[in-house]
């Protein structure tokens, strides 16, 4: 079966399956550390810092406020790690893509298979974290309180897809693994800190009141506000706009990534 962009699903799923096979050996070392990341932020910032942020944000306690955004960050991190270091190693050191290319797989199939896998991994992290949040909700925290919370996995999938594609774009553009230092410290970390997870961006004290306007041009911000609205409400048309922006980025990168990878890999 072929998808748009001449992507063959059989070979793309074979790429996905290879990663699943590897993961089944190493999930203890692979999944657990990354899963603890948002949980630690939730506890450290939410409970710890929350004690000093007595008034909370917009009627929510501090832990309630940051929880949905951390879910977005968790999906972002899962997908990013996969399409940065892991893809780079397979492409450059393990020469695994050369082996794939000797089968009926074409480059776009490999890119799509890796994308599917990265989204799977982002969803695994996001869902695991969502279960933790479900526990907090049961104990009286107002975290997953809107009926639209059932749509959170969709928002996670969108988040993971977008960041997987951004990661693949970067990976297809570099020749040295050390460049990821920049990708993480100058790109993902600032996004994590300044996308409205930890403090509201529409406060007049932030960027002269333009914080949110600036954030509209950054990717994680839209994921965070989608998650927050789905988990806790209220949803309005601006969230549809955010979803469309994410979809637009996905569509554009979906075209760009196979081209970049082809240019990078084929000689």
């Amino acid at each position: 079966m072929n998808l748009p962009g001449d992507i063959n699903l059989t070979t793309a799923l074979s790429v996905w399956r290879r990663n699943k096979t590897e993961y089944s050996h190493s999930w203890m070392t692979n999944i657990l550390p990354n899963f603890f990341d948002p949980v630690l932020y939730l506890l450290g910032m939410g409970l710890g810092l929350g004690m000093f942020v007595g008034r909370g944000v917009g009627g929510l306690t501090y832990i309630e406020y940051i929880a949905p955004g951390l879910m977005a960050a968790s999906a972002m991190q899962g997908a990013s790690f996969e399409t940065t270091y892991n893809v780079f190693v397979k492409m450059n050191f393990a020469r695994l893509y050369d082996a794939y290319l000797a089968t009926p797989a074409l480059i776009q199939d490999i890119a799509f298979g890796e994308l599917l896998w990265a989204v799977t991994r982002g969803l695994i992290y996001g869902m695991a974290f969502m279960i933790v949040l479900g526990g907090f909700t049961l104990f009286g925290h107002r975290i997953l309180i809107s009926p639209f919370a059932v749509l959170l996995p969709v928002a996670m999938a969108l988040t993971a897809t977008m960041f997987a594609l951004i990661g693949l774009t970067f990976t297809a553009s570099i020749r040295n693994i050390n460049y990821y230092g920049f990708y993480y410290t100058l790109w993902l970390t600032p996004l994590f800190l300044f996308s409205g997870i930890f403090f509201p961006l529409n406060d007049p004290k932030i960027a002269g009141g333009h914080g949110e306007t600036i954030a509209w041009f950054t990717p994680l911000f839209h994921c965070v506000r989608l998650m927050r609205a789905l988990a806790q409400g209220p949803l309005d048309w601006t969230h549809a706009a955010s979803a469309l922006i994410v979809l637009g980025v996905i569509a554009a990168l979906f075209v760009i990534v196979p081209r970049r990878m082809r240019r990078r890999m084929v000689s």
């Binding site: 399956r17 050996h25 393990a94 050369d98 797989a105 074409l106």
Partner: protein, 327 residues
């Protein structure tokens, strides 16, 4: 006659300004074993990669199993029918040998159950059953090559491209593999292989080309090539046993001893040969009257080691390129 398995016309490939394949023509018939020989950097792997569609055609025409490959539009159709044993080991080091094969089988559209059956068959075929659950990095060099061969056969290919399939194999494993390749040929598969082993090419290849610096410098059946390019026999004389060194100018340097006698002997011998070559301390005399020359050599240079042997492809290569195959 059926259309050829592969036909190249003026096939070229550049890497930047460097010309790796410089306008070659060849035609490989279905069911034959076709060899590519040549020194390091001759362009063999580059040609193989164009055939198995991992690398775009530079220019010219390349017809593979009835599809024109130059534009790349038919790659998926072509690749489904080709098996590949690459020169470089690219087994998946994170997976076991069995997982390697099962995972790659799925790329050819096999179901999970079919992949498992095919994996077992092929592990048997390359005699690696007992290593099925070892991680790929735990295999020895020769085992890795055999694993790559098994992987290349997963799709039950009509055309199998083997880039130095036996490099690193022990003699027993090599002979076993030759037998396996002959089995495949009996099943009408077309085999393309590159090798640095002349005996392998003579044993396996129906026809072959010799490449050098991106060009094809000779082609034909091994026996015909030998007949065409060199005499039937070679007399080898190892002059170093004379406790002297044969110089590149044909003089022999023997400390403290006059070398004029040796030089005269060497020149008499070379005059008896159709052609001669020197490689370090070895003098190679290409002759049709082998017995006569080897007898004379033993008389003239009693301390030298002399040897009469049939001509081989290596002699053809030496003649054509003027240097050894393995530098």
């Amino acid at each position: 006659m059926a259309d050829p398995a592969v036909k190249a016309v003026n096939l070229r490939k550049n890497y930047g300004d460097f010309v790796a394949v410089d306008g070659i023509d060849f035609e490989i018939q279905r069911g034959e074993c076709f060899g590519f020989l040549g020194p390091n950097g001759a362009g063999k792997t580059t040609t193989m990669r164009m055939i198995y569609r991992a690398s775009p055609v530079g220019s010219g025409s390349l017809l593979i199993l009835g599809h024109e490959a130059a534009q790349g539009h038919r790659d998926r159709a072509i690749k489904g029918r080709i098996g590949v044993v690459p020169q470089e080991d690219n087994l998946d080091t994170e997976l076991t040998l069995r997982e390697n094969l099962q995972v790659f089988a799925r790329f050819y559209g096999l179901s999970k159950a079919q992949a498992a059956t095919r994996t077992d068959e092929l592990l048997e075929f390359v005699q690696l059953r007992e290593k099925a659950d070892a991680k790929a990095f735990q295999l020895s060099g020769g085992m890795k090559r055999r694993a790559l061969i098994a992987r290349g056969l997963l799709g039950d290919p009509e055309l199998l491209v083997l880039d130095e399939p036996t490099t690193g194999l022990d003699p027993q494993a090599r002979i076993n593999l030759w037998e396996r390749l002959r089995d495949l040929k009996r099943k009408q598969a077309t085999l393309i292989l590159t090798t640095h082993y002349m005996d392998e090419a003579e044993q396996l290849c129906d026809r072959l080309v010799i490449m050098d610096k991106g060009k094809i410098v000779a082609q034909g059946a091994p026996k015909a090539l030998i007949r065409e390019h060199v005499s039937s026999h070679v007399v080898e004389v190892a002059v170093s046993a004379q406790s002297g060194r044969l110089q590149s100018n044909g003089r022999v340097e023997t400390p403290g001893v006059s070398s004029d006698g040796v030089v005269a002997s060497v020149s008499e011998l070379t005059s008896m040969a159709k052609r001669h070559e020197q490689h370090h301390d070895r003098l190679l005399l290409y002759v049709d009257n082998g017995e006569e020359v080897v007898t004379r050599a033993a008389q003239l240079l009693p301390d030298a080691e002399t040897l009469l042997r049939r001509s081989t492809l290596e002699d053809v290569f030496l003649k054509i390129t003027g240097r050894g195959l393995i530098e």
